[in-house]
């Protein structure tokens, strides 16, 4: 498989503070890649560099073989993006938002009309095409943003926290849409706060912390490195402790040696365990 994203030695600093620190990363064509990190880890800055919105301090980024810094105009046709915040034009209807994006990507009038109808159907918004943005729900807005990102048939999709602020049901619906886009051939680069989202969707994940890539692999690989079995122990006044073991036998042996524990839970480890062990942080905030 060829690489659609190739990042080498990427650095970005603001007033001397390193936000992205020597990042090396490759994403293959057709992959659904998860980019995880605590708040302020450098995820959004990395995406902003990849999507031509921020200049890197040093390093190289190639999107589908095109150097982002040297040829931003051509790179812009290669990707679509769903930003973390609502970035639709609120003076326009859903269909007009798609039309604007199609115009900016130089689709012909005939192609625009067909593509808008096709995408509204794809994200199940055909019945709401003529609604103003402020008149539809958060989930519909998010789906409209996804449709907009797809309008010019990009090879690569950046989804920056695509389900933030959505209820559980809508989130599942967006997940289905992300899987569908990936099955239809788009490479997806996803950042998310929701670890279960990355676990449910991504074949491979990278974890960034203080601007550095500290882990990279499939969710199973990362869990195996940590230990497939987790033991949670609640002890008097000391909070909950976590231990990880390669198998249940070793975990059971450990539990037998802990008679003082108030409550002990043995379970399969998950990506969130990996994340917390590596970063020392919950996804939404610092525990320390």
């Amino acid at each position: 498989m060829s690489k659609i994203i190739k990042i080498s030695g990427l650095n970005k600093d603001y007033s001397g503070k390193k936000v992205v620190d020597g990042l090396d990363l490759e994403v293959e064509k057709g992959e659904l890649f998860g980019f995880l990190g605590p708040n302020g880890a450098g995820k959004t800055t990395t995406i902003r560099i990849l999507t031509t919105l921020t200049k890197p301090s040093s390093g190289q980024v190639l999107i589908n073989g095109i150097d982002v810094a040297k040829d931003p105009a051509n790179v812009k046709s290669e990707f679509g993006i769903v930003q973390q915040h609502l970035s639709l034009n609120r003076d326009l209807t859903i269909a007009e938002n798609l039309e604007l994006h199609a115009r900016l990507h130089h689709l012909s009038q005939k192609d625009r009309k067909e593509r808008i109808a096709e995408l509204l159907d794809y994200v199940e918004l055909s019945d709401h095409a003529d609604y103003l943005i402020d008149d539809v729900s958060g989930g519909m807005k998010r789906r409209a943003m996804i449709a907009r990102a797809l309008i010019h048939r990009p090879k690569l999709l950046f989804l920056d926290e695509p389900t933030v602020g959505l209820d559980a049901q809508t989130r599942r619906r967006v997940w289905d849409l992300i899987r569908k886009m990936n099955c239809d051939g788009a490479t997806v680069f996803l950042t998310t706060h929701y670890i279960e989202e990355a676990e449910a969707l991504c074949r491979r994940v990278g974890i960034i912390h203080h601007g550095k890539l500290i882990a990279l692999g499939t969710p199973i690989d990362l869990r195996q490195k940590l230990g497939m079995i987790a033991v949670e122990m609640q002890t008097n006044g000391n909070g909950t402790k976590y231990e990880y073991f390669p198998d249940r036998a070793k975990a059971a042996e450990f539990i037998q040696g802990q008679p003082g524990a108030e409550k002990v839970v043995m379970r399969e480890s998950n990506l969130e365990d990996v994340f917390i062990e590596l970063t020392g942080q919950k996804v939404l905030g610092d525990l320390r």
Binding site: S87, N89, H105
Partner: protein, 247 residues
């Protein structure tokens, strides 16, 4: 392609404006009509300036003022909101269009709104001051005024770090210009030192040009040239500002 891309940027605003043009027009005409009533009919009744009634004198000034405020706000305030609040400006920056097309499109939004409001006011003003002459030179001046202040709005919006910055800019730059830019009084009536200071304001030159064109007087080409210089400077400033924003 540059013109097409700029039009595509403008297209979005035209679609929105089409939906609520009446509300927009009503809102933007309130201030100039109040100025017209207060200064033209109220204070200025019976005043004669260089052989012209004050009403005829003040109407072109109010048109210049309307062109300035509606163009500046049409381009600048909207861009500021798109950039800092809705974040939809990022979507434009990520589109495969040249930055100068993007800026031109954003400025044309102000031009359309400025011309629309100014012409609407002009139509109303001509009912009470029918001697106003609207010829090609007047329209050319009006267009250049709208274009100049639209790009000033774009520049201010690109430099602003918050919505308050736009308000501050309006208070410090636009508000003094509103009253000092040769709109309501003749520059021949002010002390020499102040007069030279007022010649540094782009609105002064817009007022001088529009007034001369509207009253069929000899055209102040130097004012047209100065307005052009401001226009080019604002374009240049906007280009530098937008280049700093993206790769």
């Amino acid at each position: 392609m540059i013109a097409q891309d700029a039009y595509n940027i403008l297209w979005a605003d035209l679609a929105a404006l089409k939906r609520r043009w009446l509300r927009y027009l009503t809102t933007t005409l309130i201030s100039p009509l109040l100025y017209l009533v207060a200064f033209g009919w109220g204070l200025g009744r019976g005043i004669n300036l260089n052989g012209t009634s004050y009403l005829e004198f003040v109407v072109p000034g109010i048109i210049a003022l309307t062109a300035m405020t509606t163009s500046f706000n049409g381009a600048g305030t909207r861009l500021n909101v798109d950039r800092l609040y809705f974040k939809s400006f990022d979507e434009c920056l990520m589109a495969p269009i040249k930055l100068h097309s993007l800026l031109l499109g954003k400025a044309l939004i102000g031009v359309v709104r400025g011309v629309f409001s100014s012409v609407a006011f002009l139509v109303l003003a001509m009912l009470i001051a029918p001697t106003i002459h609207v010829g090609p030179m007047f329209l050319l001046g009006l267009f250049l005024t709208c274009l100049t202040f639209s790009f000033l709005g774009v520049l201010a919006a690109l430099l602003a770090k918050s919505h308050e910055d736009m308000g501050t800019f309006s208070s410090i730059i636009l508000l003094p210009m509103t009253f000092l830019g040769g709109t309501f009084f003749s520059l021949s009536q002010v002390p020499v030192g102040l007069k030279y200071a007022l010649y540094l304001l782009p609105l002064t030159h817009a007022s001088l040009w529009l007034r001369a064109a509207a009253l069929n007087q000899s055209l102040p080409w130097m004012s047209f040239l100065v307005l052009l210089v401001f226009f080019v400077a604002f374009i240049g400033g906007s280009m530098i500002a937008v280049r700093k924003m993206s790769i």
